[in-house]
């Protein structure tokens, strides 16, 4: 073999080197763009979090954990974290439960399947900023149809998006409305993947009621789907921004201040890049924790092989 190789490499090695070179060439645009638009900015945001950099000022200095200390003491930031948590705690379970419920109903009802699927999915395909505007009208305290309807029953409707006590619930309703369809199609896919034989076995084994079969087959078999839908829903809820920016600007009285809106406000309106970067790091940390939770702990509970 060796005497066949001219360059000191065997022909096989040369071929392998050629393949590696071509592969790297094919991957290089992606590699470069990944470095420029993802890796470098991520590193930069972590570094910036330790500076007092502000856009418009030429110089900046490293301030250590000062930004983080400020975050801890910031009423706005704590309020923002709390609101994000409340929003997530409402939207995630409700939209998952409703998404699953609708999927189960559609799956068990042969008639009108594609019609209902289309209707429930429609919000996913609609421009959220536009539909939020429609919701604002529906929620309008004096001219909105929702309060007009409540008035028919003699109930004085609240100022949904205008009062600090109800604004987060109003936004949650929009969030739920928007994500039911998405969760539904994922659950539908999960349901069709369940082997029919398992339901037959459950029936033969004595699971008489639909509830018994749901507990014995559907729910455990949907485990991976449910975990996945939960993770996505939590992450999407943590990322809530469009409705807040469009409808409430964080108000009234910071009652709808959420994480991404606070970052946007500090970083891109007040231009306090360093401080906003520290916030972004917290935001990233939350995402990482959620991912780790999914892959490390919960994944094992729902995959059975």
């Amino acid at each position: 073999m060796a005497d066949l190789a001219i360059s000191g490499y065997s022909p096989i090695e040369t071929a392998a080197r050629r393949e590696a070179r071509t592969a790297l060439l094919l991957a290089s645009p992606a590699l470069v763009l990944m470095l420029v638009f993802i890796i470098l900015p991520t590193v930069a945001v972590i570094v910036l979090g330790f500076t007092d950099f502000e856009l418009g000022y030429a110089s900046f200095r490293f301030v250590g954990f000062e930004n983080y200390a400020e975050l801890l003491n910031s009423r706005t930031f704590r309020k923002s974290l709390w609101n994000t948590a409340v929003y997530t705690a409402i939207v995630t379970p409700v939209s998952i439960a409703l998404g699953l419920g609708v999927a189960l109903l559609i799956e068990s009802e042969p008639r009108g399947r594609s019609f209902f699927r289309t209707v429930y999915f429609l919000p996913v395909a609609s421009l959220l900023v536009a539909m939020a505007t429609v919701w604002q009208y529906l929620f309008h305290p004096s001219i909105g149809p929702l309060n007009a309807l409540l008035a028919q029953f003699g109930i004085p409707g609240p100022n949904w998006l205008g009062a600090s006590s109800t604004v987060i619930y109003g936004l949650s309703v929009i969030g739920i409305w928007q994500s039911i369809g998405f969760n539904m199609v994922l659950f539908l896919a999960g349901l069709t993947a369940i082997p029919r034989d398992l339901y037959a076995a459950a029936e033969v084994d004595g699971a008489k009621s639909a509830l018994d079969r749901f507990r014995l087959v559907t729910w455990p078999m949907l485990g991976p789907t449910t975990l996945f839908v939960t993770t996505i829903s939590v992450i999407n809820s943590v990322k809530v921004f469009e409705t807040v920016k469009t409808l409430t600007e964080g108000g009234p009285n910071k009652a709808s201040e959420v994480l991404l809106f606070t970052i946007y406000q500090e970083g891109f309106v007040f231009l306090r890049v360093g401080y906003a970067s520290a916030m972004t790091v917290v935001f990233l940390a939350i995402l990482v924790v959620l991912m780790v939770l999914q892959y490390r702990f919960l994944d094992r509970q729902v995959h059975y092989s």
Partner: protein, 278 residues
């Protein structure tokens, strides 16, 4: 039980589904209705859905004149189109190399992709904004498109799809004398069409709807995407002319909804596939 007879259970299920459907559709119904009402009728706050005096023409005229709707939609098409083309062009060769070829950087690339999946635009926005500001490229298509030219999610999705493709297909193409790029273009892409379609739907929906990044880099209406344009329109209207506002939301929502209604099956399949693979 499997027969087509109407049982009480089935009636209850249909009723429940219909009620839910009505609630989901309510915003659309009121949007359509209010877009045709006059200001005074809207303020009369009645629950009637059919406008007393048909004011559609006036409201739509307002919507079209205050902000250039065709321009917004055009911007949306250009930005989403450019993003999609770039993402596919960049991701497909990379995913092919990672799935079917041996090279040492592959493992590092895989780690980068997994890392990249974790990092949304919201996390990288600050440094990118600073950099774009320094480069004076804010308020441009370039600023709107560049950060999304790389989609790690596309790489991830295509990677999984390509791995499932038989190696023999590629071996046969190599024996037929195709170059690696030729294989990607003439063998891989045609066979990866379901994945590309699914990703296209996911990408267009995501970027058509995105407000965060356009809001940051665009202050000039000429480059506004649909969501941002609607925000401008709201500001111009002081948010109270609901007739015109509803007309504007209708115009801006319609294109994607139409696409969805026309291509429902691939739309839902696309979202499901990208959803489950993510």
């Amino acid at each position: 039980m499997t027969t087509q007879t109407m049982t009480i259970g089935r009636l209850a299920r249909l009723a429940l589904l219909s009620l839910g459907a009505l609630l989901v559709l309510a915003p659309y119904i009121f949007m359509l209705s209010t877009a045709g009402k006059t200001q005074s009728e809207i303020f009369a706050s009645s629950l009637s859905l059919i406008p007393h005096t048909w004011n559609y023409l006036a409201n739509f005229t307002k919507a079209f004149t205050r902000v250039s709707m065709p321009m917004l939609l055009w911007n949306g098409v250009v930005v989403c189109g450019m993003i999609l083309v770039l993402q596919v062009l960049v991701a497909v060769p990379c995913a092919y190399a990672m799935a079917k070829m041996k090279f040492r950087a592959a493992r590092v690339m895989m780690a980068l992709v997994m890392l990249g999946l974790l990092v949304p635009i919201h996390a990288t926005a600050l440094p990118l904004y600073v950099a774009f500001d320094r480069l004076s490229i804010l308020n441009s298509y370039l600023a709107l498109v560049a950060p999304f030219s790389i989609s790690v999610f596309a790489i991830f999705l295509f990677l999984q799809f390509f791995r499932a493709m038989p190696d023999d297909l590629i071996h046969a193409a190599r024996l037929d004398g195709m170059s690696e790029l030729g294989i990607v273009a003439r063998v891989i892409v045609p066979n990866a069409w379901p994945a590309v379609t699914a990703f296209a739907i996911f990408s267009v929906v995501a970027h058509w709807n995105d407000l965060f990044w356009p809001l940051i880099v665009v202050t000039n209406q000429a480059y506004a995407t649909p969501p941002l344009g609607l925000l401008f329109f709201r500001a111009a209207e002081a948010g109270d002319d609901y007739g015109a506002l509803m007309a504007a939301t209708l115009i801006i929502t319609l294109p994607l909804v139409l696409v969805f209604l026309l291509a429902q099956k691939s739309f839902v399949e696309g979202i499901t596939m990208t959803g489950l693979k993510g």
